[in-house]
């Protein structure tokens, strides 16, 4: 949350995107098939359904050095498992508000519904999130971790 | 004959909290869920050598540590016998020869092998309780002349659970003046020997508590809670003196050096004062089980 001085260009935001297998992951594949371009800062982590998204994963990611978290799933009504994203929607609405309340910038935790056909939306979302987080600068939540200062080549 | 006195708090500090890296030079599969790991220090460094009954702490590099009795040792190696019960032991079981681990120790006290010289010995163990007992048994066999008759009563719930089968059924059978009595708790298609729980089996064997020279036989017992409970009861019933019955106590240990606090039974820290106690001492303890 706190900004740290960095030399321009040295730092690149690191963002993890939790994507449901059936829609968003497919949409991301389609973006590839269409040879779309988007920033390489996002790493997709595949989960079966946005209903599988445990807020604890996001907390872990933010704690351990991700600068932003994106959670994506099927549009409500289109869940492969019928209802998973409805539960996810409620949980994420509450969780996102909680994170922002305790001080996280809203841009650092975002949720989007992206279908298997919405390759363009995937590209745009990723680009937008990366640029927003880039503008915010690095997130340093891991105060005093015993590992801090340990660099791995 | 001197009274048998178990020493406490006698461990000599070699490695406190910071471990050494050791190489796994040999893995023996004892049973489907028990393996023995032989460790050697790299760079030819001498390994720490324990007294029989002492334990060491072996850990996965990057993960947790566990406490194991040193089940055997040689000039430049030590061996731990590990049953797969939890997360760390599961990882240990996944090790291959050549892998490295953390090791520290030796910790704890040891079997009072000096005081036992000249006595007849009865070793009783159940399942994974044999490795600690074997460290003492092995010592007696290495100094065969110093000890009288030796009996081993070993039982397991299945044939698979029996460890050190090679020694049980071959090596020790040939030892002079030694009886090996093995039983299973339940019938098993691969087993045509005795089927009995330990206590009834002991009763049936009726091994004379006084020993051949009348000095009082020393019994060494190690096993799970129910074996410990029924076995010691049987021994006392048969007339063994509590000070002649030796056992090891088990608690969750972490630091191994009597500091971290969790392994106390009353005022005694099992990792430092124990794990070896005589039944006489145990009787005086306030114990959680």
């Amino acid at each position: 949350m706190s900004m740290v001085e960095t030399t321009p260009g040295a730092w690149e935001p690191k963002i993890v995107a939790f994507c449901c297998h059936w829609c968003t992951y497919t949409g991301a594949d389609l973006a590839g098939l269409n040879r779309m371009n988007y920033p390489a800062n996002v790493r997709v982590l595949r989960i079966p359904c946005s209903g599988r998204m445990n807020p604890q994963y996001a907390l872990d990611a933010l704690n351990k050095g991700c600068d932003g978290v994106l959670v994506c799933g099927c549009h409500p009504g289109d869940c492969h498992y019928s209802t998973g994203n409805y539960f996810a929607r409620r949980r994420m609405l509450v969780f996102k508000r909680l994170l922002e309340y305790q001080g996280l910038e809203p841009e650092r935790f975002q949720v989007r519904w992206i279908s298997g056909a919405e390759a363009g939306k995937f590209r745009d979302t990723v680009t937008e999130v990366v640029e927003q987080v880039r503008a915010l600068g690095p997130l340093h939540l891991n105060h005093e971790l015993v590992l801090s200062g340990m660099e791995v080549e | 004959m001197p009274k048998i006195t178990v020493q406490h708090g006698c461990a000599k500090a070699q490695l406190a909290l910071v471990p050494k890296v050791a190489k796994v030079i040999k893995i023996t599969v004892e049973t489907p869920d028990v393996k023995s790991f032989r460790l050697q220090m790299p760079n030819g460094e001498a390994s720490f050598l324990g007294e029989p009954g002492q334990f060491g702490i072996m850990g996965i590099i990057g993960s947790g540590e566990c406490v194991f009795v040193i089940s055997a040792q040689g000039e430049d190696w030590i061996e731990f016998t590990v049953k797969r019960v939890g997360q760390v032991t599961e990882m240990l079981h996944a090790l291959s020869e050549g892998d490295e681990v953390f090791v520290r120790g030796p910790y704890g006290n040891w079997w009072p092998y000096e005081d036992c010289r000249g006595r007849d010995m009865l070793f009783i163990a159940g399942g994974i309780g044999l490795p600690p007992v074997r460290s003492f048994l092995q010592y007696c066999l290495e100094h065969r002349a110093d000890y009288g008759r030796i009996d081993l009563v070993y039982s397991g719930s299945t044939y698979d659970e029996l460890v050190f089968k090679h020694q049980l059924f071959d090596e020790w059978k040939t030892v002079d003046n030694m009886g090996v009595h093995v039983s299973l708790y339940h019938e098993d298609s691969r087993w045509d020997g005795e089927v009995a729980y330990t206590a009834p089996y002991l009763e049936k064997l009726a091994i004379d508590p006084m020993g051949s020279n009348g000095e009082g036989r020393v019994a060494v017992i190690c096993g799970g809670p129910s074996l410990y409970r029924t076995g010691t009861k049987e021994l006392l019933k048969e007339g063994y003196a509590p000070e002649n019955v030796l056992t090891t106590l088990e608690m969750r240990m972490k630091c191994g050096i009597g500091k971290c606090g969790r392994c106390n039974i009353g005022g005694k820290f099992i990792c430092l004062d124990g794990p070896v106690f005589s039944l006489e001492e145990v009787a005086q303890m306030n114990r959680d089980e």
């Binding site: 015993v146 340990m150 | 461990a11 490295e100 953390f102 009597g258 500091k259 606090g261």
Partner: protein, 330 residues
């Protein structure tokens, strides 16, 4: 020798130039020992800091060693030494005694704890006597005096507007050299402190050793929440756990405070727990404090600071337990 109370700030400023000086301070409503710096809300008038000073010597999280893979494919272990020259300034006699007890734990009985020892050697202790103990203080019942601290390197006896300064060890004597500019060679009337809470601790450890199976444990443990508050605010509780954090093939192993109140603390692989319920855990904690430690080190592991009495969410009060044990006919 005395030092005027209004000179204390200047003294601290001077001392802090060379060493880290830990002083009782109020930070965000929590009182604890914090490194002295300009603007810190230093409070020598507090009864007791909420958090004890033990974490100077035995931090809640202490790195022990790092490890990792070497270029040749083997592994290395590299011990940390994060100790530094520190002054514990303004510690109370009860907390001073707790350090003495921790010394016994970490420095005796076969193994010396290298991490504790390293920091202990670099610690200078300056104790201030208690002119006005709190209502929850009962150090006098535990064999201490609010007016003395034999283990402190330097003792400051509270007077009206100054402290009477005595060096009690060679280390203290040497340290006083830095104090010279602030000391005055005058006499002052020492204000003796007295605890209002008096217990009869006589014979309690002996009685306790016979009370392992007493129904009292059922009774007092039912209301215990099994949280770690008492153990974490206790100046003498020293239980720890060892854990690690990894970064790919490297990692750091550290130790951290643990609490005998947590069920996890004694749980063994395969879910067996020798202390499965609150009863066993509460019993172990109190017996350890009042009886087991005595058997082992000849001292009681309670210094009567009253922190747990103050902080316990359910007012499970060790002083009442001591009374009850005293009253029992065990």
């Amino acid at each position: 020798m005395i030092i005027k109370k209004d000179r204390m700030g200047a003294l601290l400023g001077t001392l802090a130039q060379h060493k880290t000086v830990f002083v009782p301070a109020l930070i965000d409503g929590v009182s604890k020992f914090a490194p002295y710096r300009e603007g810190l809300d230093v409070r020598f008038d507090l009864h007791n800091t909420k958090l004890p000073p033990k974490d100077l010597l035995f931090p809640q999280t202490q790195k022990m060693y790092r490890y990792g893979e070497t270029a040749e494919g083997g592994h290395y272990v590299e011990q940390f030494d994060e100790s530094s020259e520190r002054v514990l300034f303004g510690v109370r006699p009860c907390d001073m005694r707790s350090i003495n007890l921790l010394d016994d734990v970490f420095l005796t009985k076969g193994f010396v704890d290298e991490f504790y020892e390293a920091q202990r050697k670099k610690l200078l202790t300056v104790c201030i006597t208690c002119a006005a103990p709190a209502e929850t203080c009962f150090c006098e019942s535990m064999g201490l005096s609010p007016n003395e601290a034999p283990d402190a390197d330097i003792l400051l006896k509270s007077c009206e507007d100054c402290y009477k300064v005595t060096a009690q060890t060679q280390k203290g004597e040497a340290a006083l050299a830095d104090w010279r500019d602030f000391l005055e060679d005058t006499q002052a009337q020492v204000l003796p402190g007295k605890t209002s809470l008096r217990l009869n601790f006589e014979g309690v450890p002996q009685k306790l050793s016979r009370m392992y199976e007493d129904p009292i444990w059922d009774e007092i443990s039912t209301k215990c929440l099994n949280c770690g508050t008492c153990t974490f605010v206790c100046p003498t509780c020293y239980c720890f756990d060892i854990s690690q954090e990894n970064k790919m093939k490297e990692g750091v192993r550290f130790r951290c405070w643990d609490s005998c109140m947590f069920s996890e603390y004694t749980a063994m692989a395969g879910w067996h727990n020798p202390r499965p319920t609150k009863k066993e855990r509460v019993r172990n904690r109190f017996m350890h404090k009042l009886c087991f430690f005595e058997e082992r080190y000849g001292k009681t592991l309670c210094v009567g600071c009253g922190r747990c009495v103050e902080c316990c969410p359910v007012a499970l009060d060790i002083t009442r337990l001591i009374d009850d044990i005293g009253a029992s006919d065990a």
